[in-house]
């Protein structure tokens, strides 16, 4: 009887010891088997966050730097405009500087971001809040193009007067200048249309502002910019056509050999 009790006790103790030893060793085996506990999952998420945030910040910095660079170049171009007032240039320059300041401030904020979600939201605002490439840059360069068209029109107007003088002199000298006069008329017509087109372009885009995420406004801005760009394209084509007419007229005048009849030119112009 005592022997049985002693044996039972020994078996119980051995079983209990085995179970305890098993429980103690289990976590180590679990790790070896690749089982994940909550602590390990959280650590991996943190690692992922640490990995993503620098990438978002770096990407944002590149995007902002490129926009600031483009804005500075636009500002330099605006200052070269010849047919607008100082106030006009100053207003555009001020708007550009406001955008640069906004982007620079945003860059500082993104650099200090510690949360991926906030950083992503800030990154999105580079596009939605500013619309540098979608609005500001094309709007500024269309204004610059329109100003350039006006400059060319002015130069062509002066040139047209000189050519008219020569054609009239040729006519007075008895030369057939009908083709030259037709070319000059076309030249005048093209330059006049170029001026109209540039004015329309300016009127179309002068009051556009960033859409701030408003899709309807974004579409309206895009439509207006494309229409103005089309006006400038037509104006450019007009000027190219006028330029070709100039070549024709100059060649025609040389063929008339007007230098011999120059005295007629002088007399006619009196």
């Amino acid at each position: 009887m005592n022997t049985k009790k002693i044996t039972a006790s020994i078996v119980s103790l051995a079983t209990a010891s085995t179970l305890l030893a098993g429980l103690a060793v289990l976590p180590a085996h679990a790790e070896e088997l690749g089982l994940k506990d909550s602590t390990k999952v959280n650590a991996r998420v943190d690692l992922k966050t640490e990995d993503r945030l620098p990438k978002i910040i770096s990407r944002s910095n590149v995007a902002i730097d490129a926009r600031v660079d483009a804005l500075n170049k636009l500002n330099a171009r605006i200052q070269q405009m010849k047919n607008v007032s100082v106030t006009f240039k100053s207003n555009i320059s001020s708007q550009i500087q406001t955008n640069i300041l906004g982007l620079t401030t945003l860059k500082t904020k993104i650099d200090a971001d510690t949360d991926v979600t906030i950083a992503l939201t800030d990154e999105k605002s580079i596009l939605g809040s500013f619309r540098i490439y979608a609005l500001v840059i094309p709007q500024g360069y269309i204004l610059a193009s329109a100003d350039r068209v006006d400059t060319v029109v002015s130069l062509m107007s002066d040139l047209g007067a000189k050519l008219q003088l020569r054609i009239t002199a040729g006519q007075t000298a008895g030369k057939d200048v009908s083709k030259l006069q037709a070319s000059l008329n076309d030249f005048n017509s093209k330059t006049a249309d170029a001026k109209v087109q540039s004015n329309t372009a300016v009127t179309t885009i002068a009051s556009l502002s960033p859409d701030q995420g408003d899709k309807i406004k974004q579409d309206a801005n895009t439509t207006a910019l494309k229409a103005a760009r089309s006006n400038i394209k037509t104006a450019t084509q007009d000027l190219r056509a006028a330029h070709e007419e100039v070549k024709t007229i100059i060649k025609g005048l040389k063929d008339l050999n007007l230098s011999v009849d120059a005295s007629s030119s002088a007399r006619v112009s009196q």
């Binding site: 636009l74 171009r77 596009l127 619309r131 490439y133 979608a134 609005l135 500001v136 840059i137 094309p138 360069y141 269309i142 610059a144 193009s145 350039r148 068209v149 400059t151 060319v152 130069l155 062509m156 002066d158 040139l159 007067a161 000189k162 050519l163 003088l165 020569r166 895009t222 910019l225 494309k226 760009r229 400038i232 394209k233 450019t236 000027l239 190219r240 330029h243 100039v246 100059i250 007007l258 230098s259 120059a262 005295s263 030119s265 002088a266 007399r267 112009s269 009196q270």
Partner: protein
């Protein structure tokens, strides 16, 4: 020296003087300064002599060439402005 010879010498000197005077009067009208001031607008000086008018013609050619060159330069600038506009419009963001 006889009287006839003296008289002939005086006549020759006077003729040379007159030729020099005519040459001096004619030359200044061909200077570039006159050209630049008369190339776009007609003036009375343009009809004073054939030499003047020939010069005006040349100055007009130069003036026209200058205008064409200025236009060419501005047209290149216009192409650059248009390219920058298209670059923005194509980015769309």
């Amino acid at each position: 020296m006889t009287t006839k010879a003296t008289l002939g010498l005086i006549i020759i000197i006077v003729l040379i003087g007159l030729a020099g005077w005519w040459y001096a009067m004619d030359k200044p009208t061909e200077t570039p300064t006159t050209i630049q001031t008369t190339n776009t607008q007609s003036t009375s000086s343009e009809s004073t002599s054939p030499a003047t008018n020939t010069t005006v013609t040349n100055s007009s050619d130069a003036s026209i060439d200058q205008s064409v060159n200025s236009i060419d330069t501005e047209m290149k600038g216009l192409d650059s402005d248009n390219a920058n506009t298209d670059s923005g419009l194509n980015a769309q963001n």
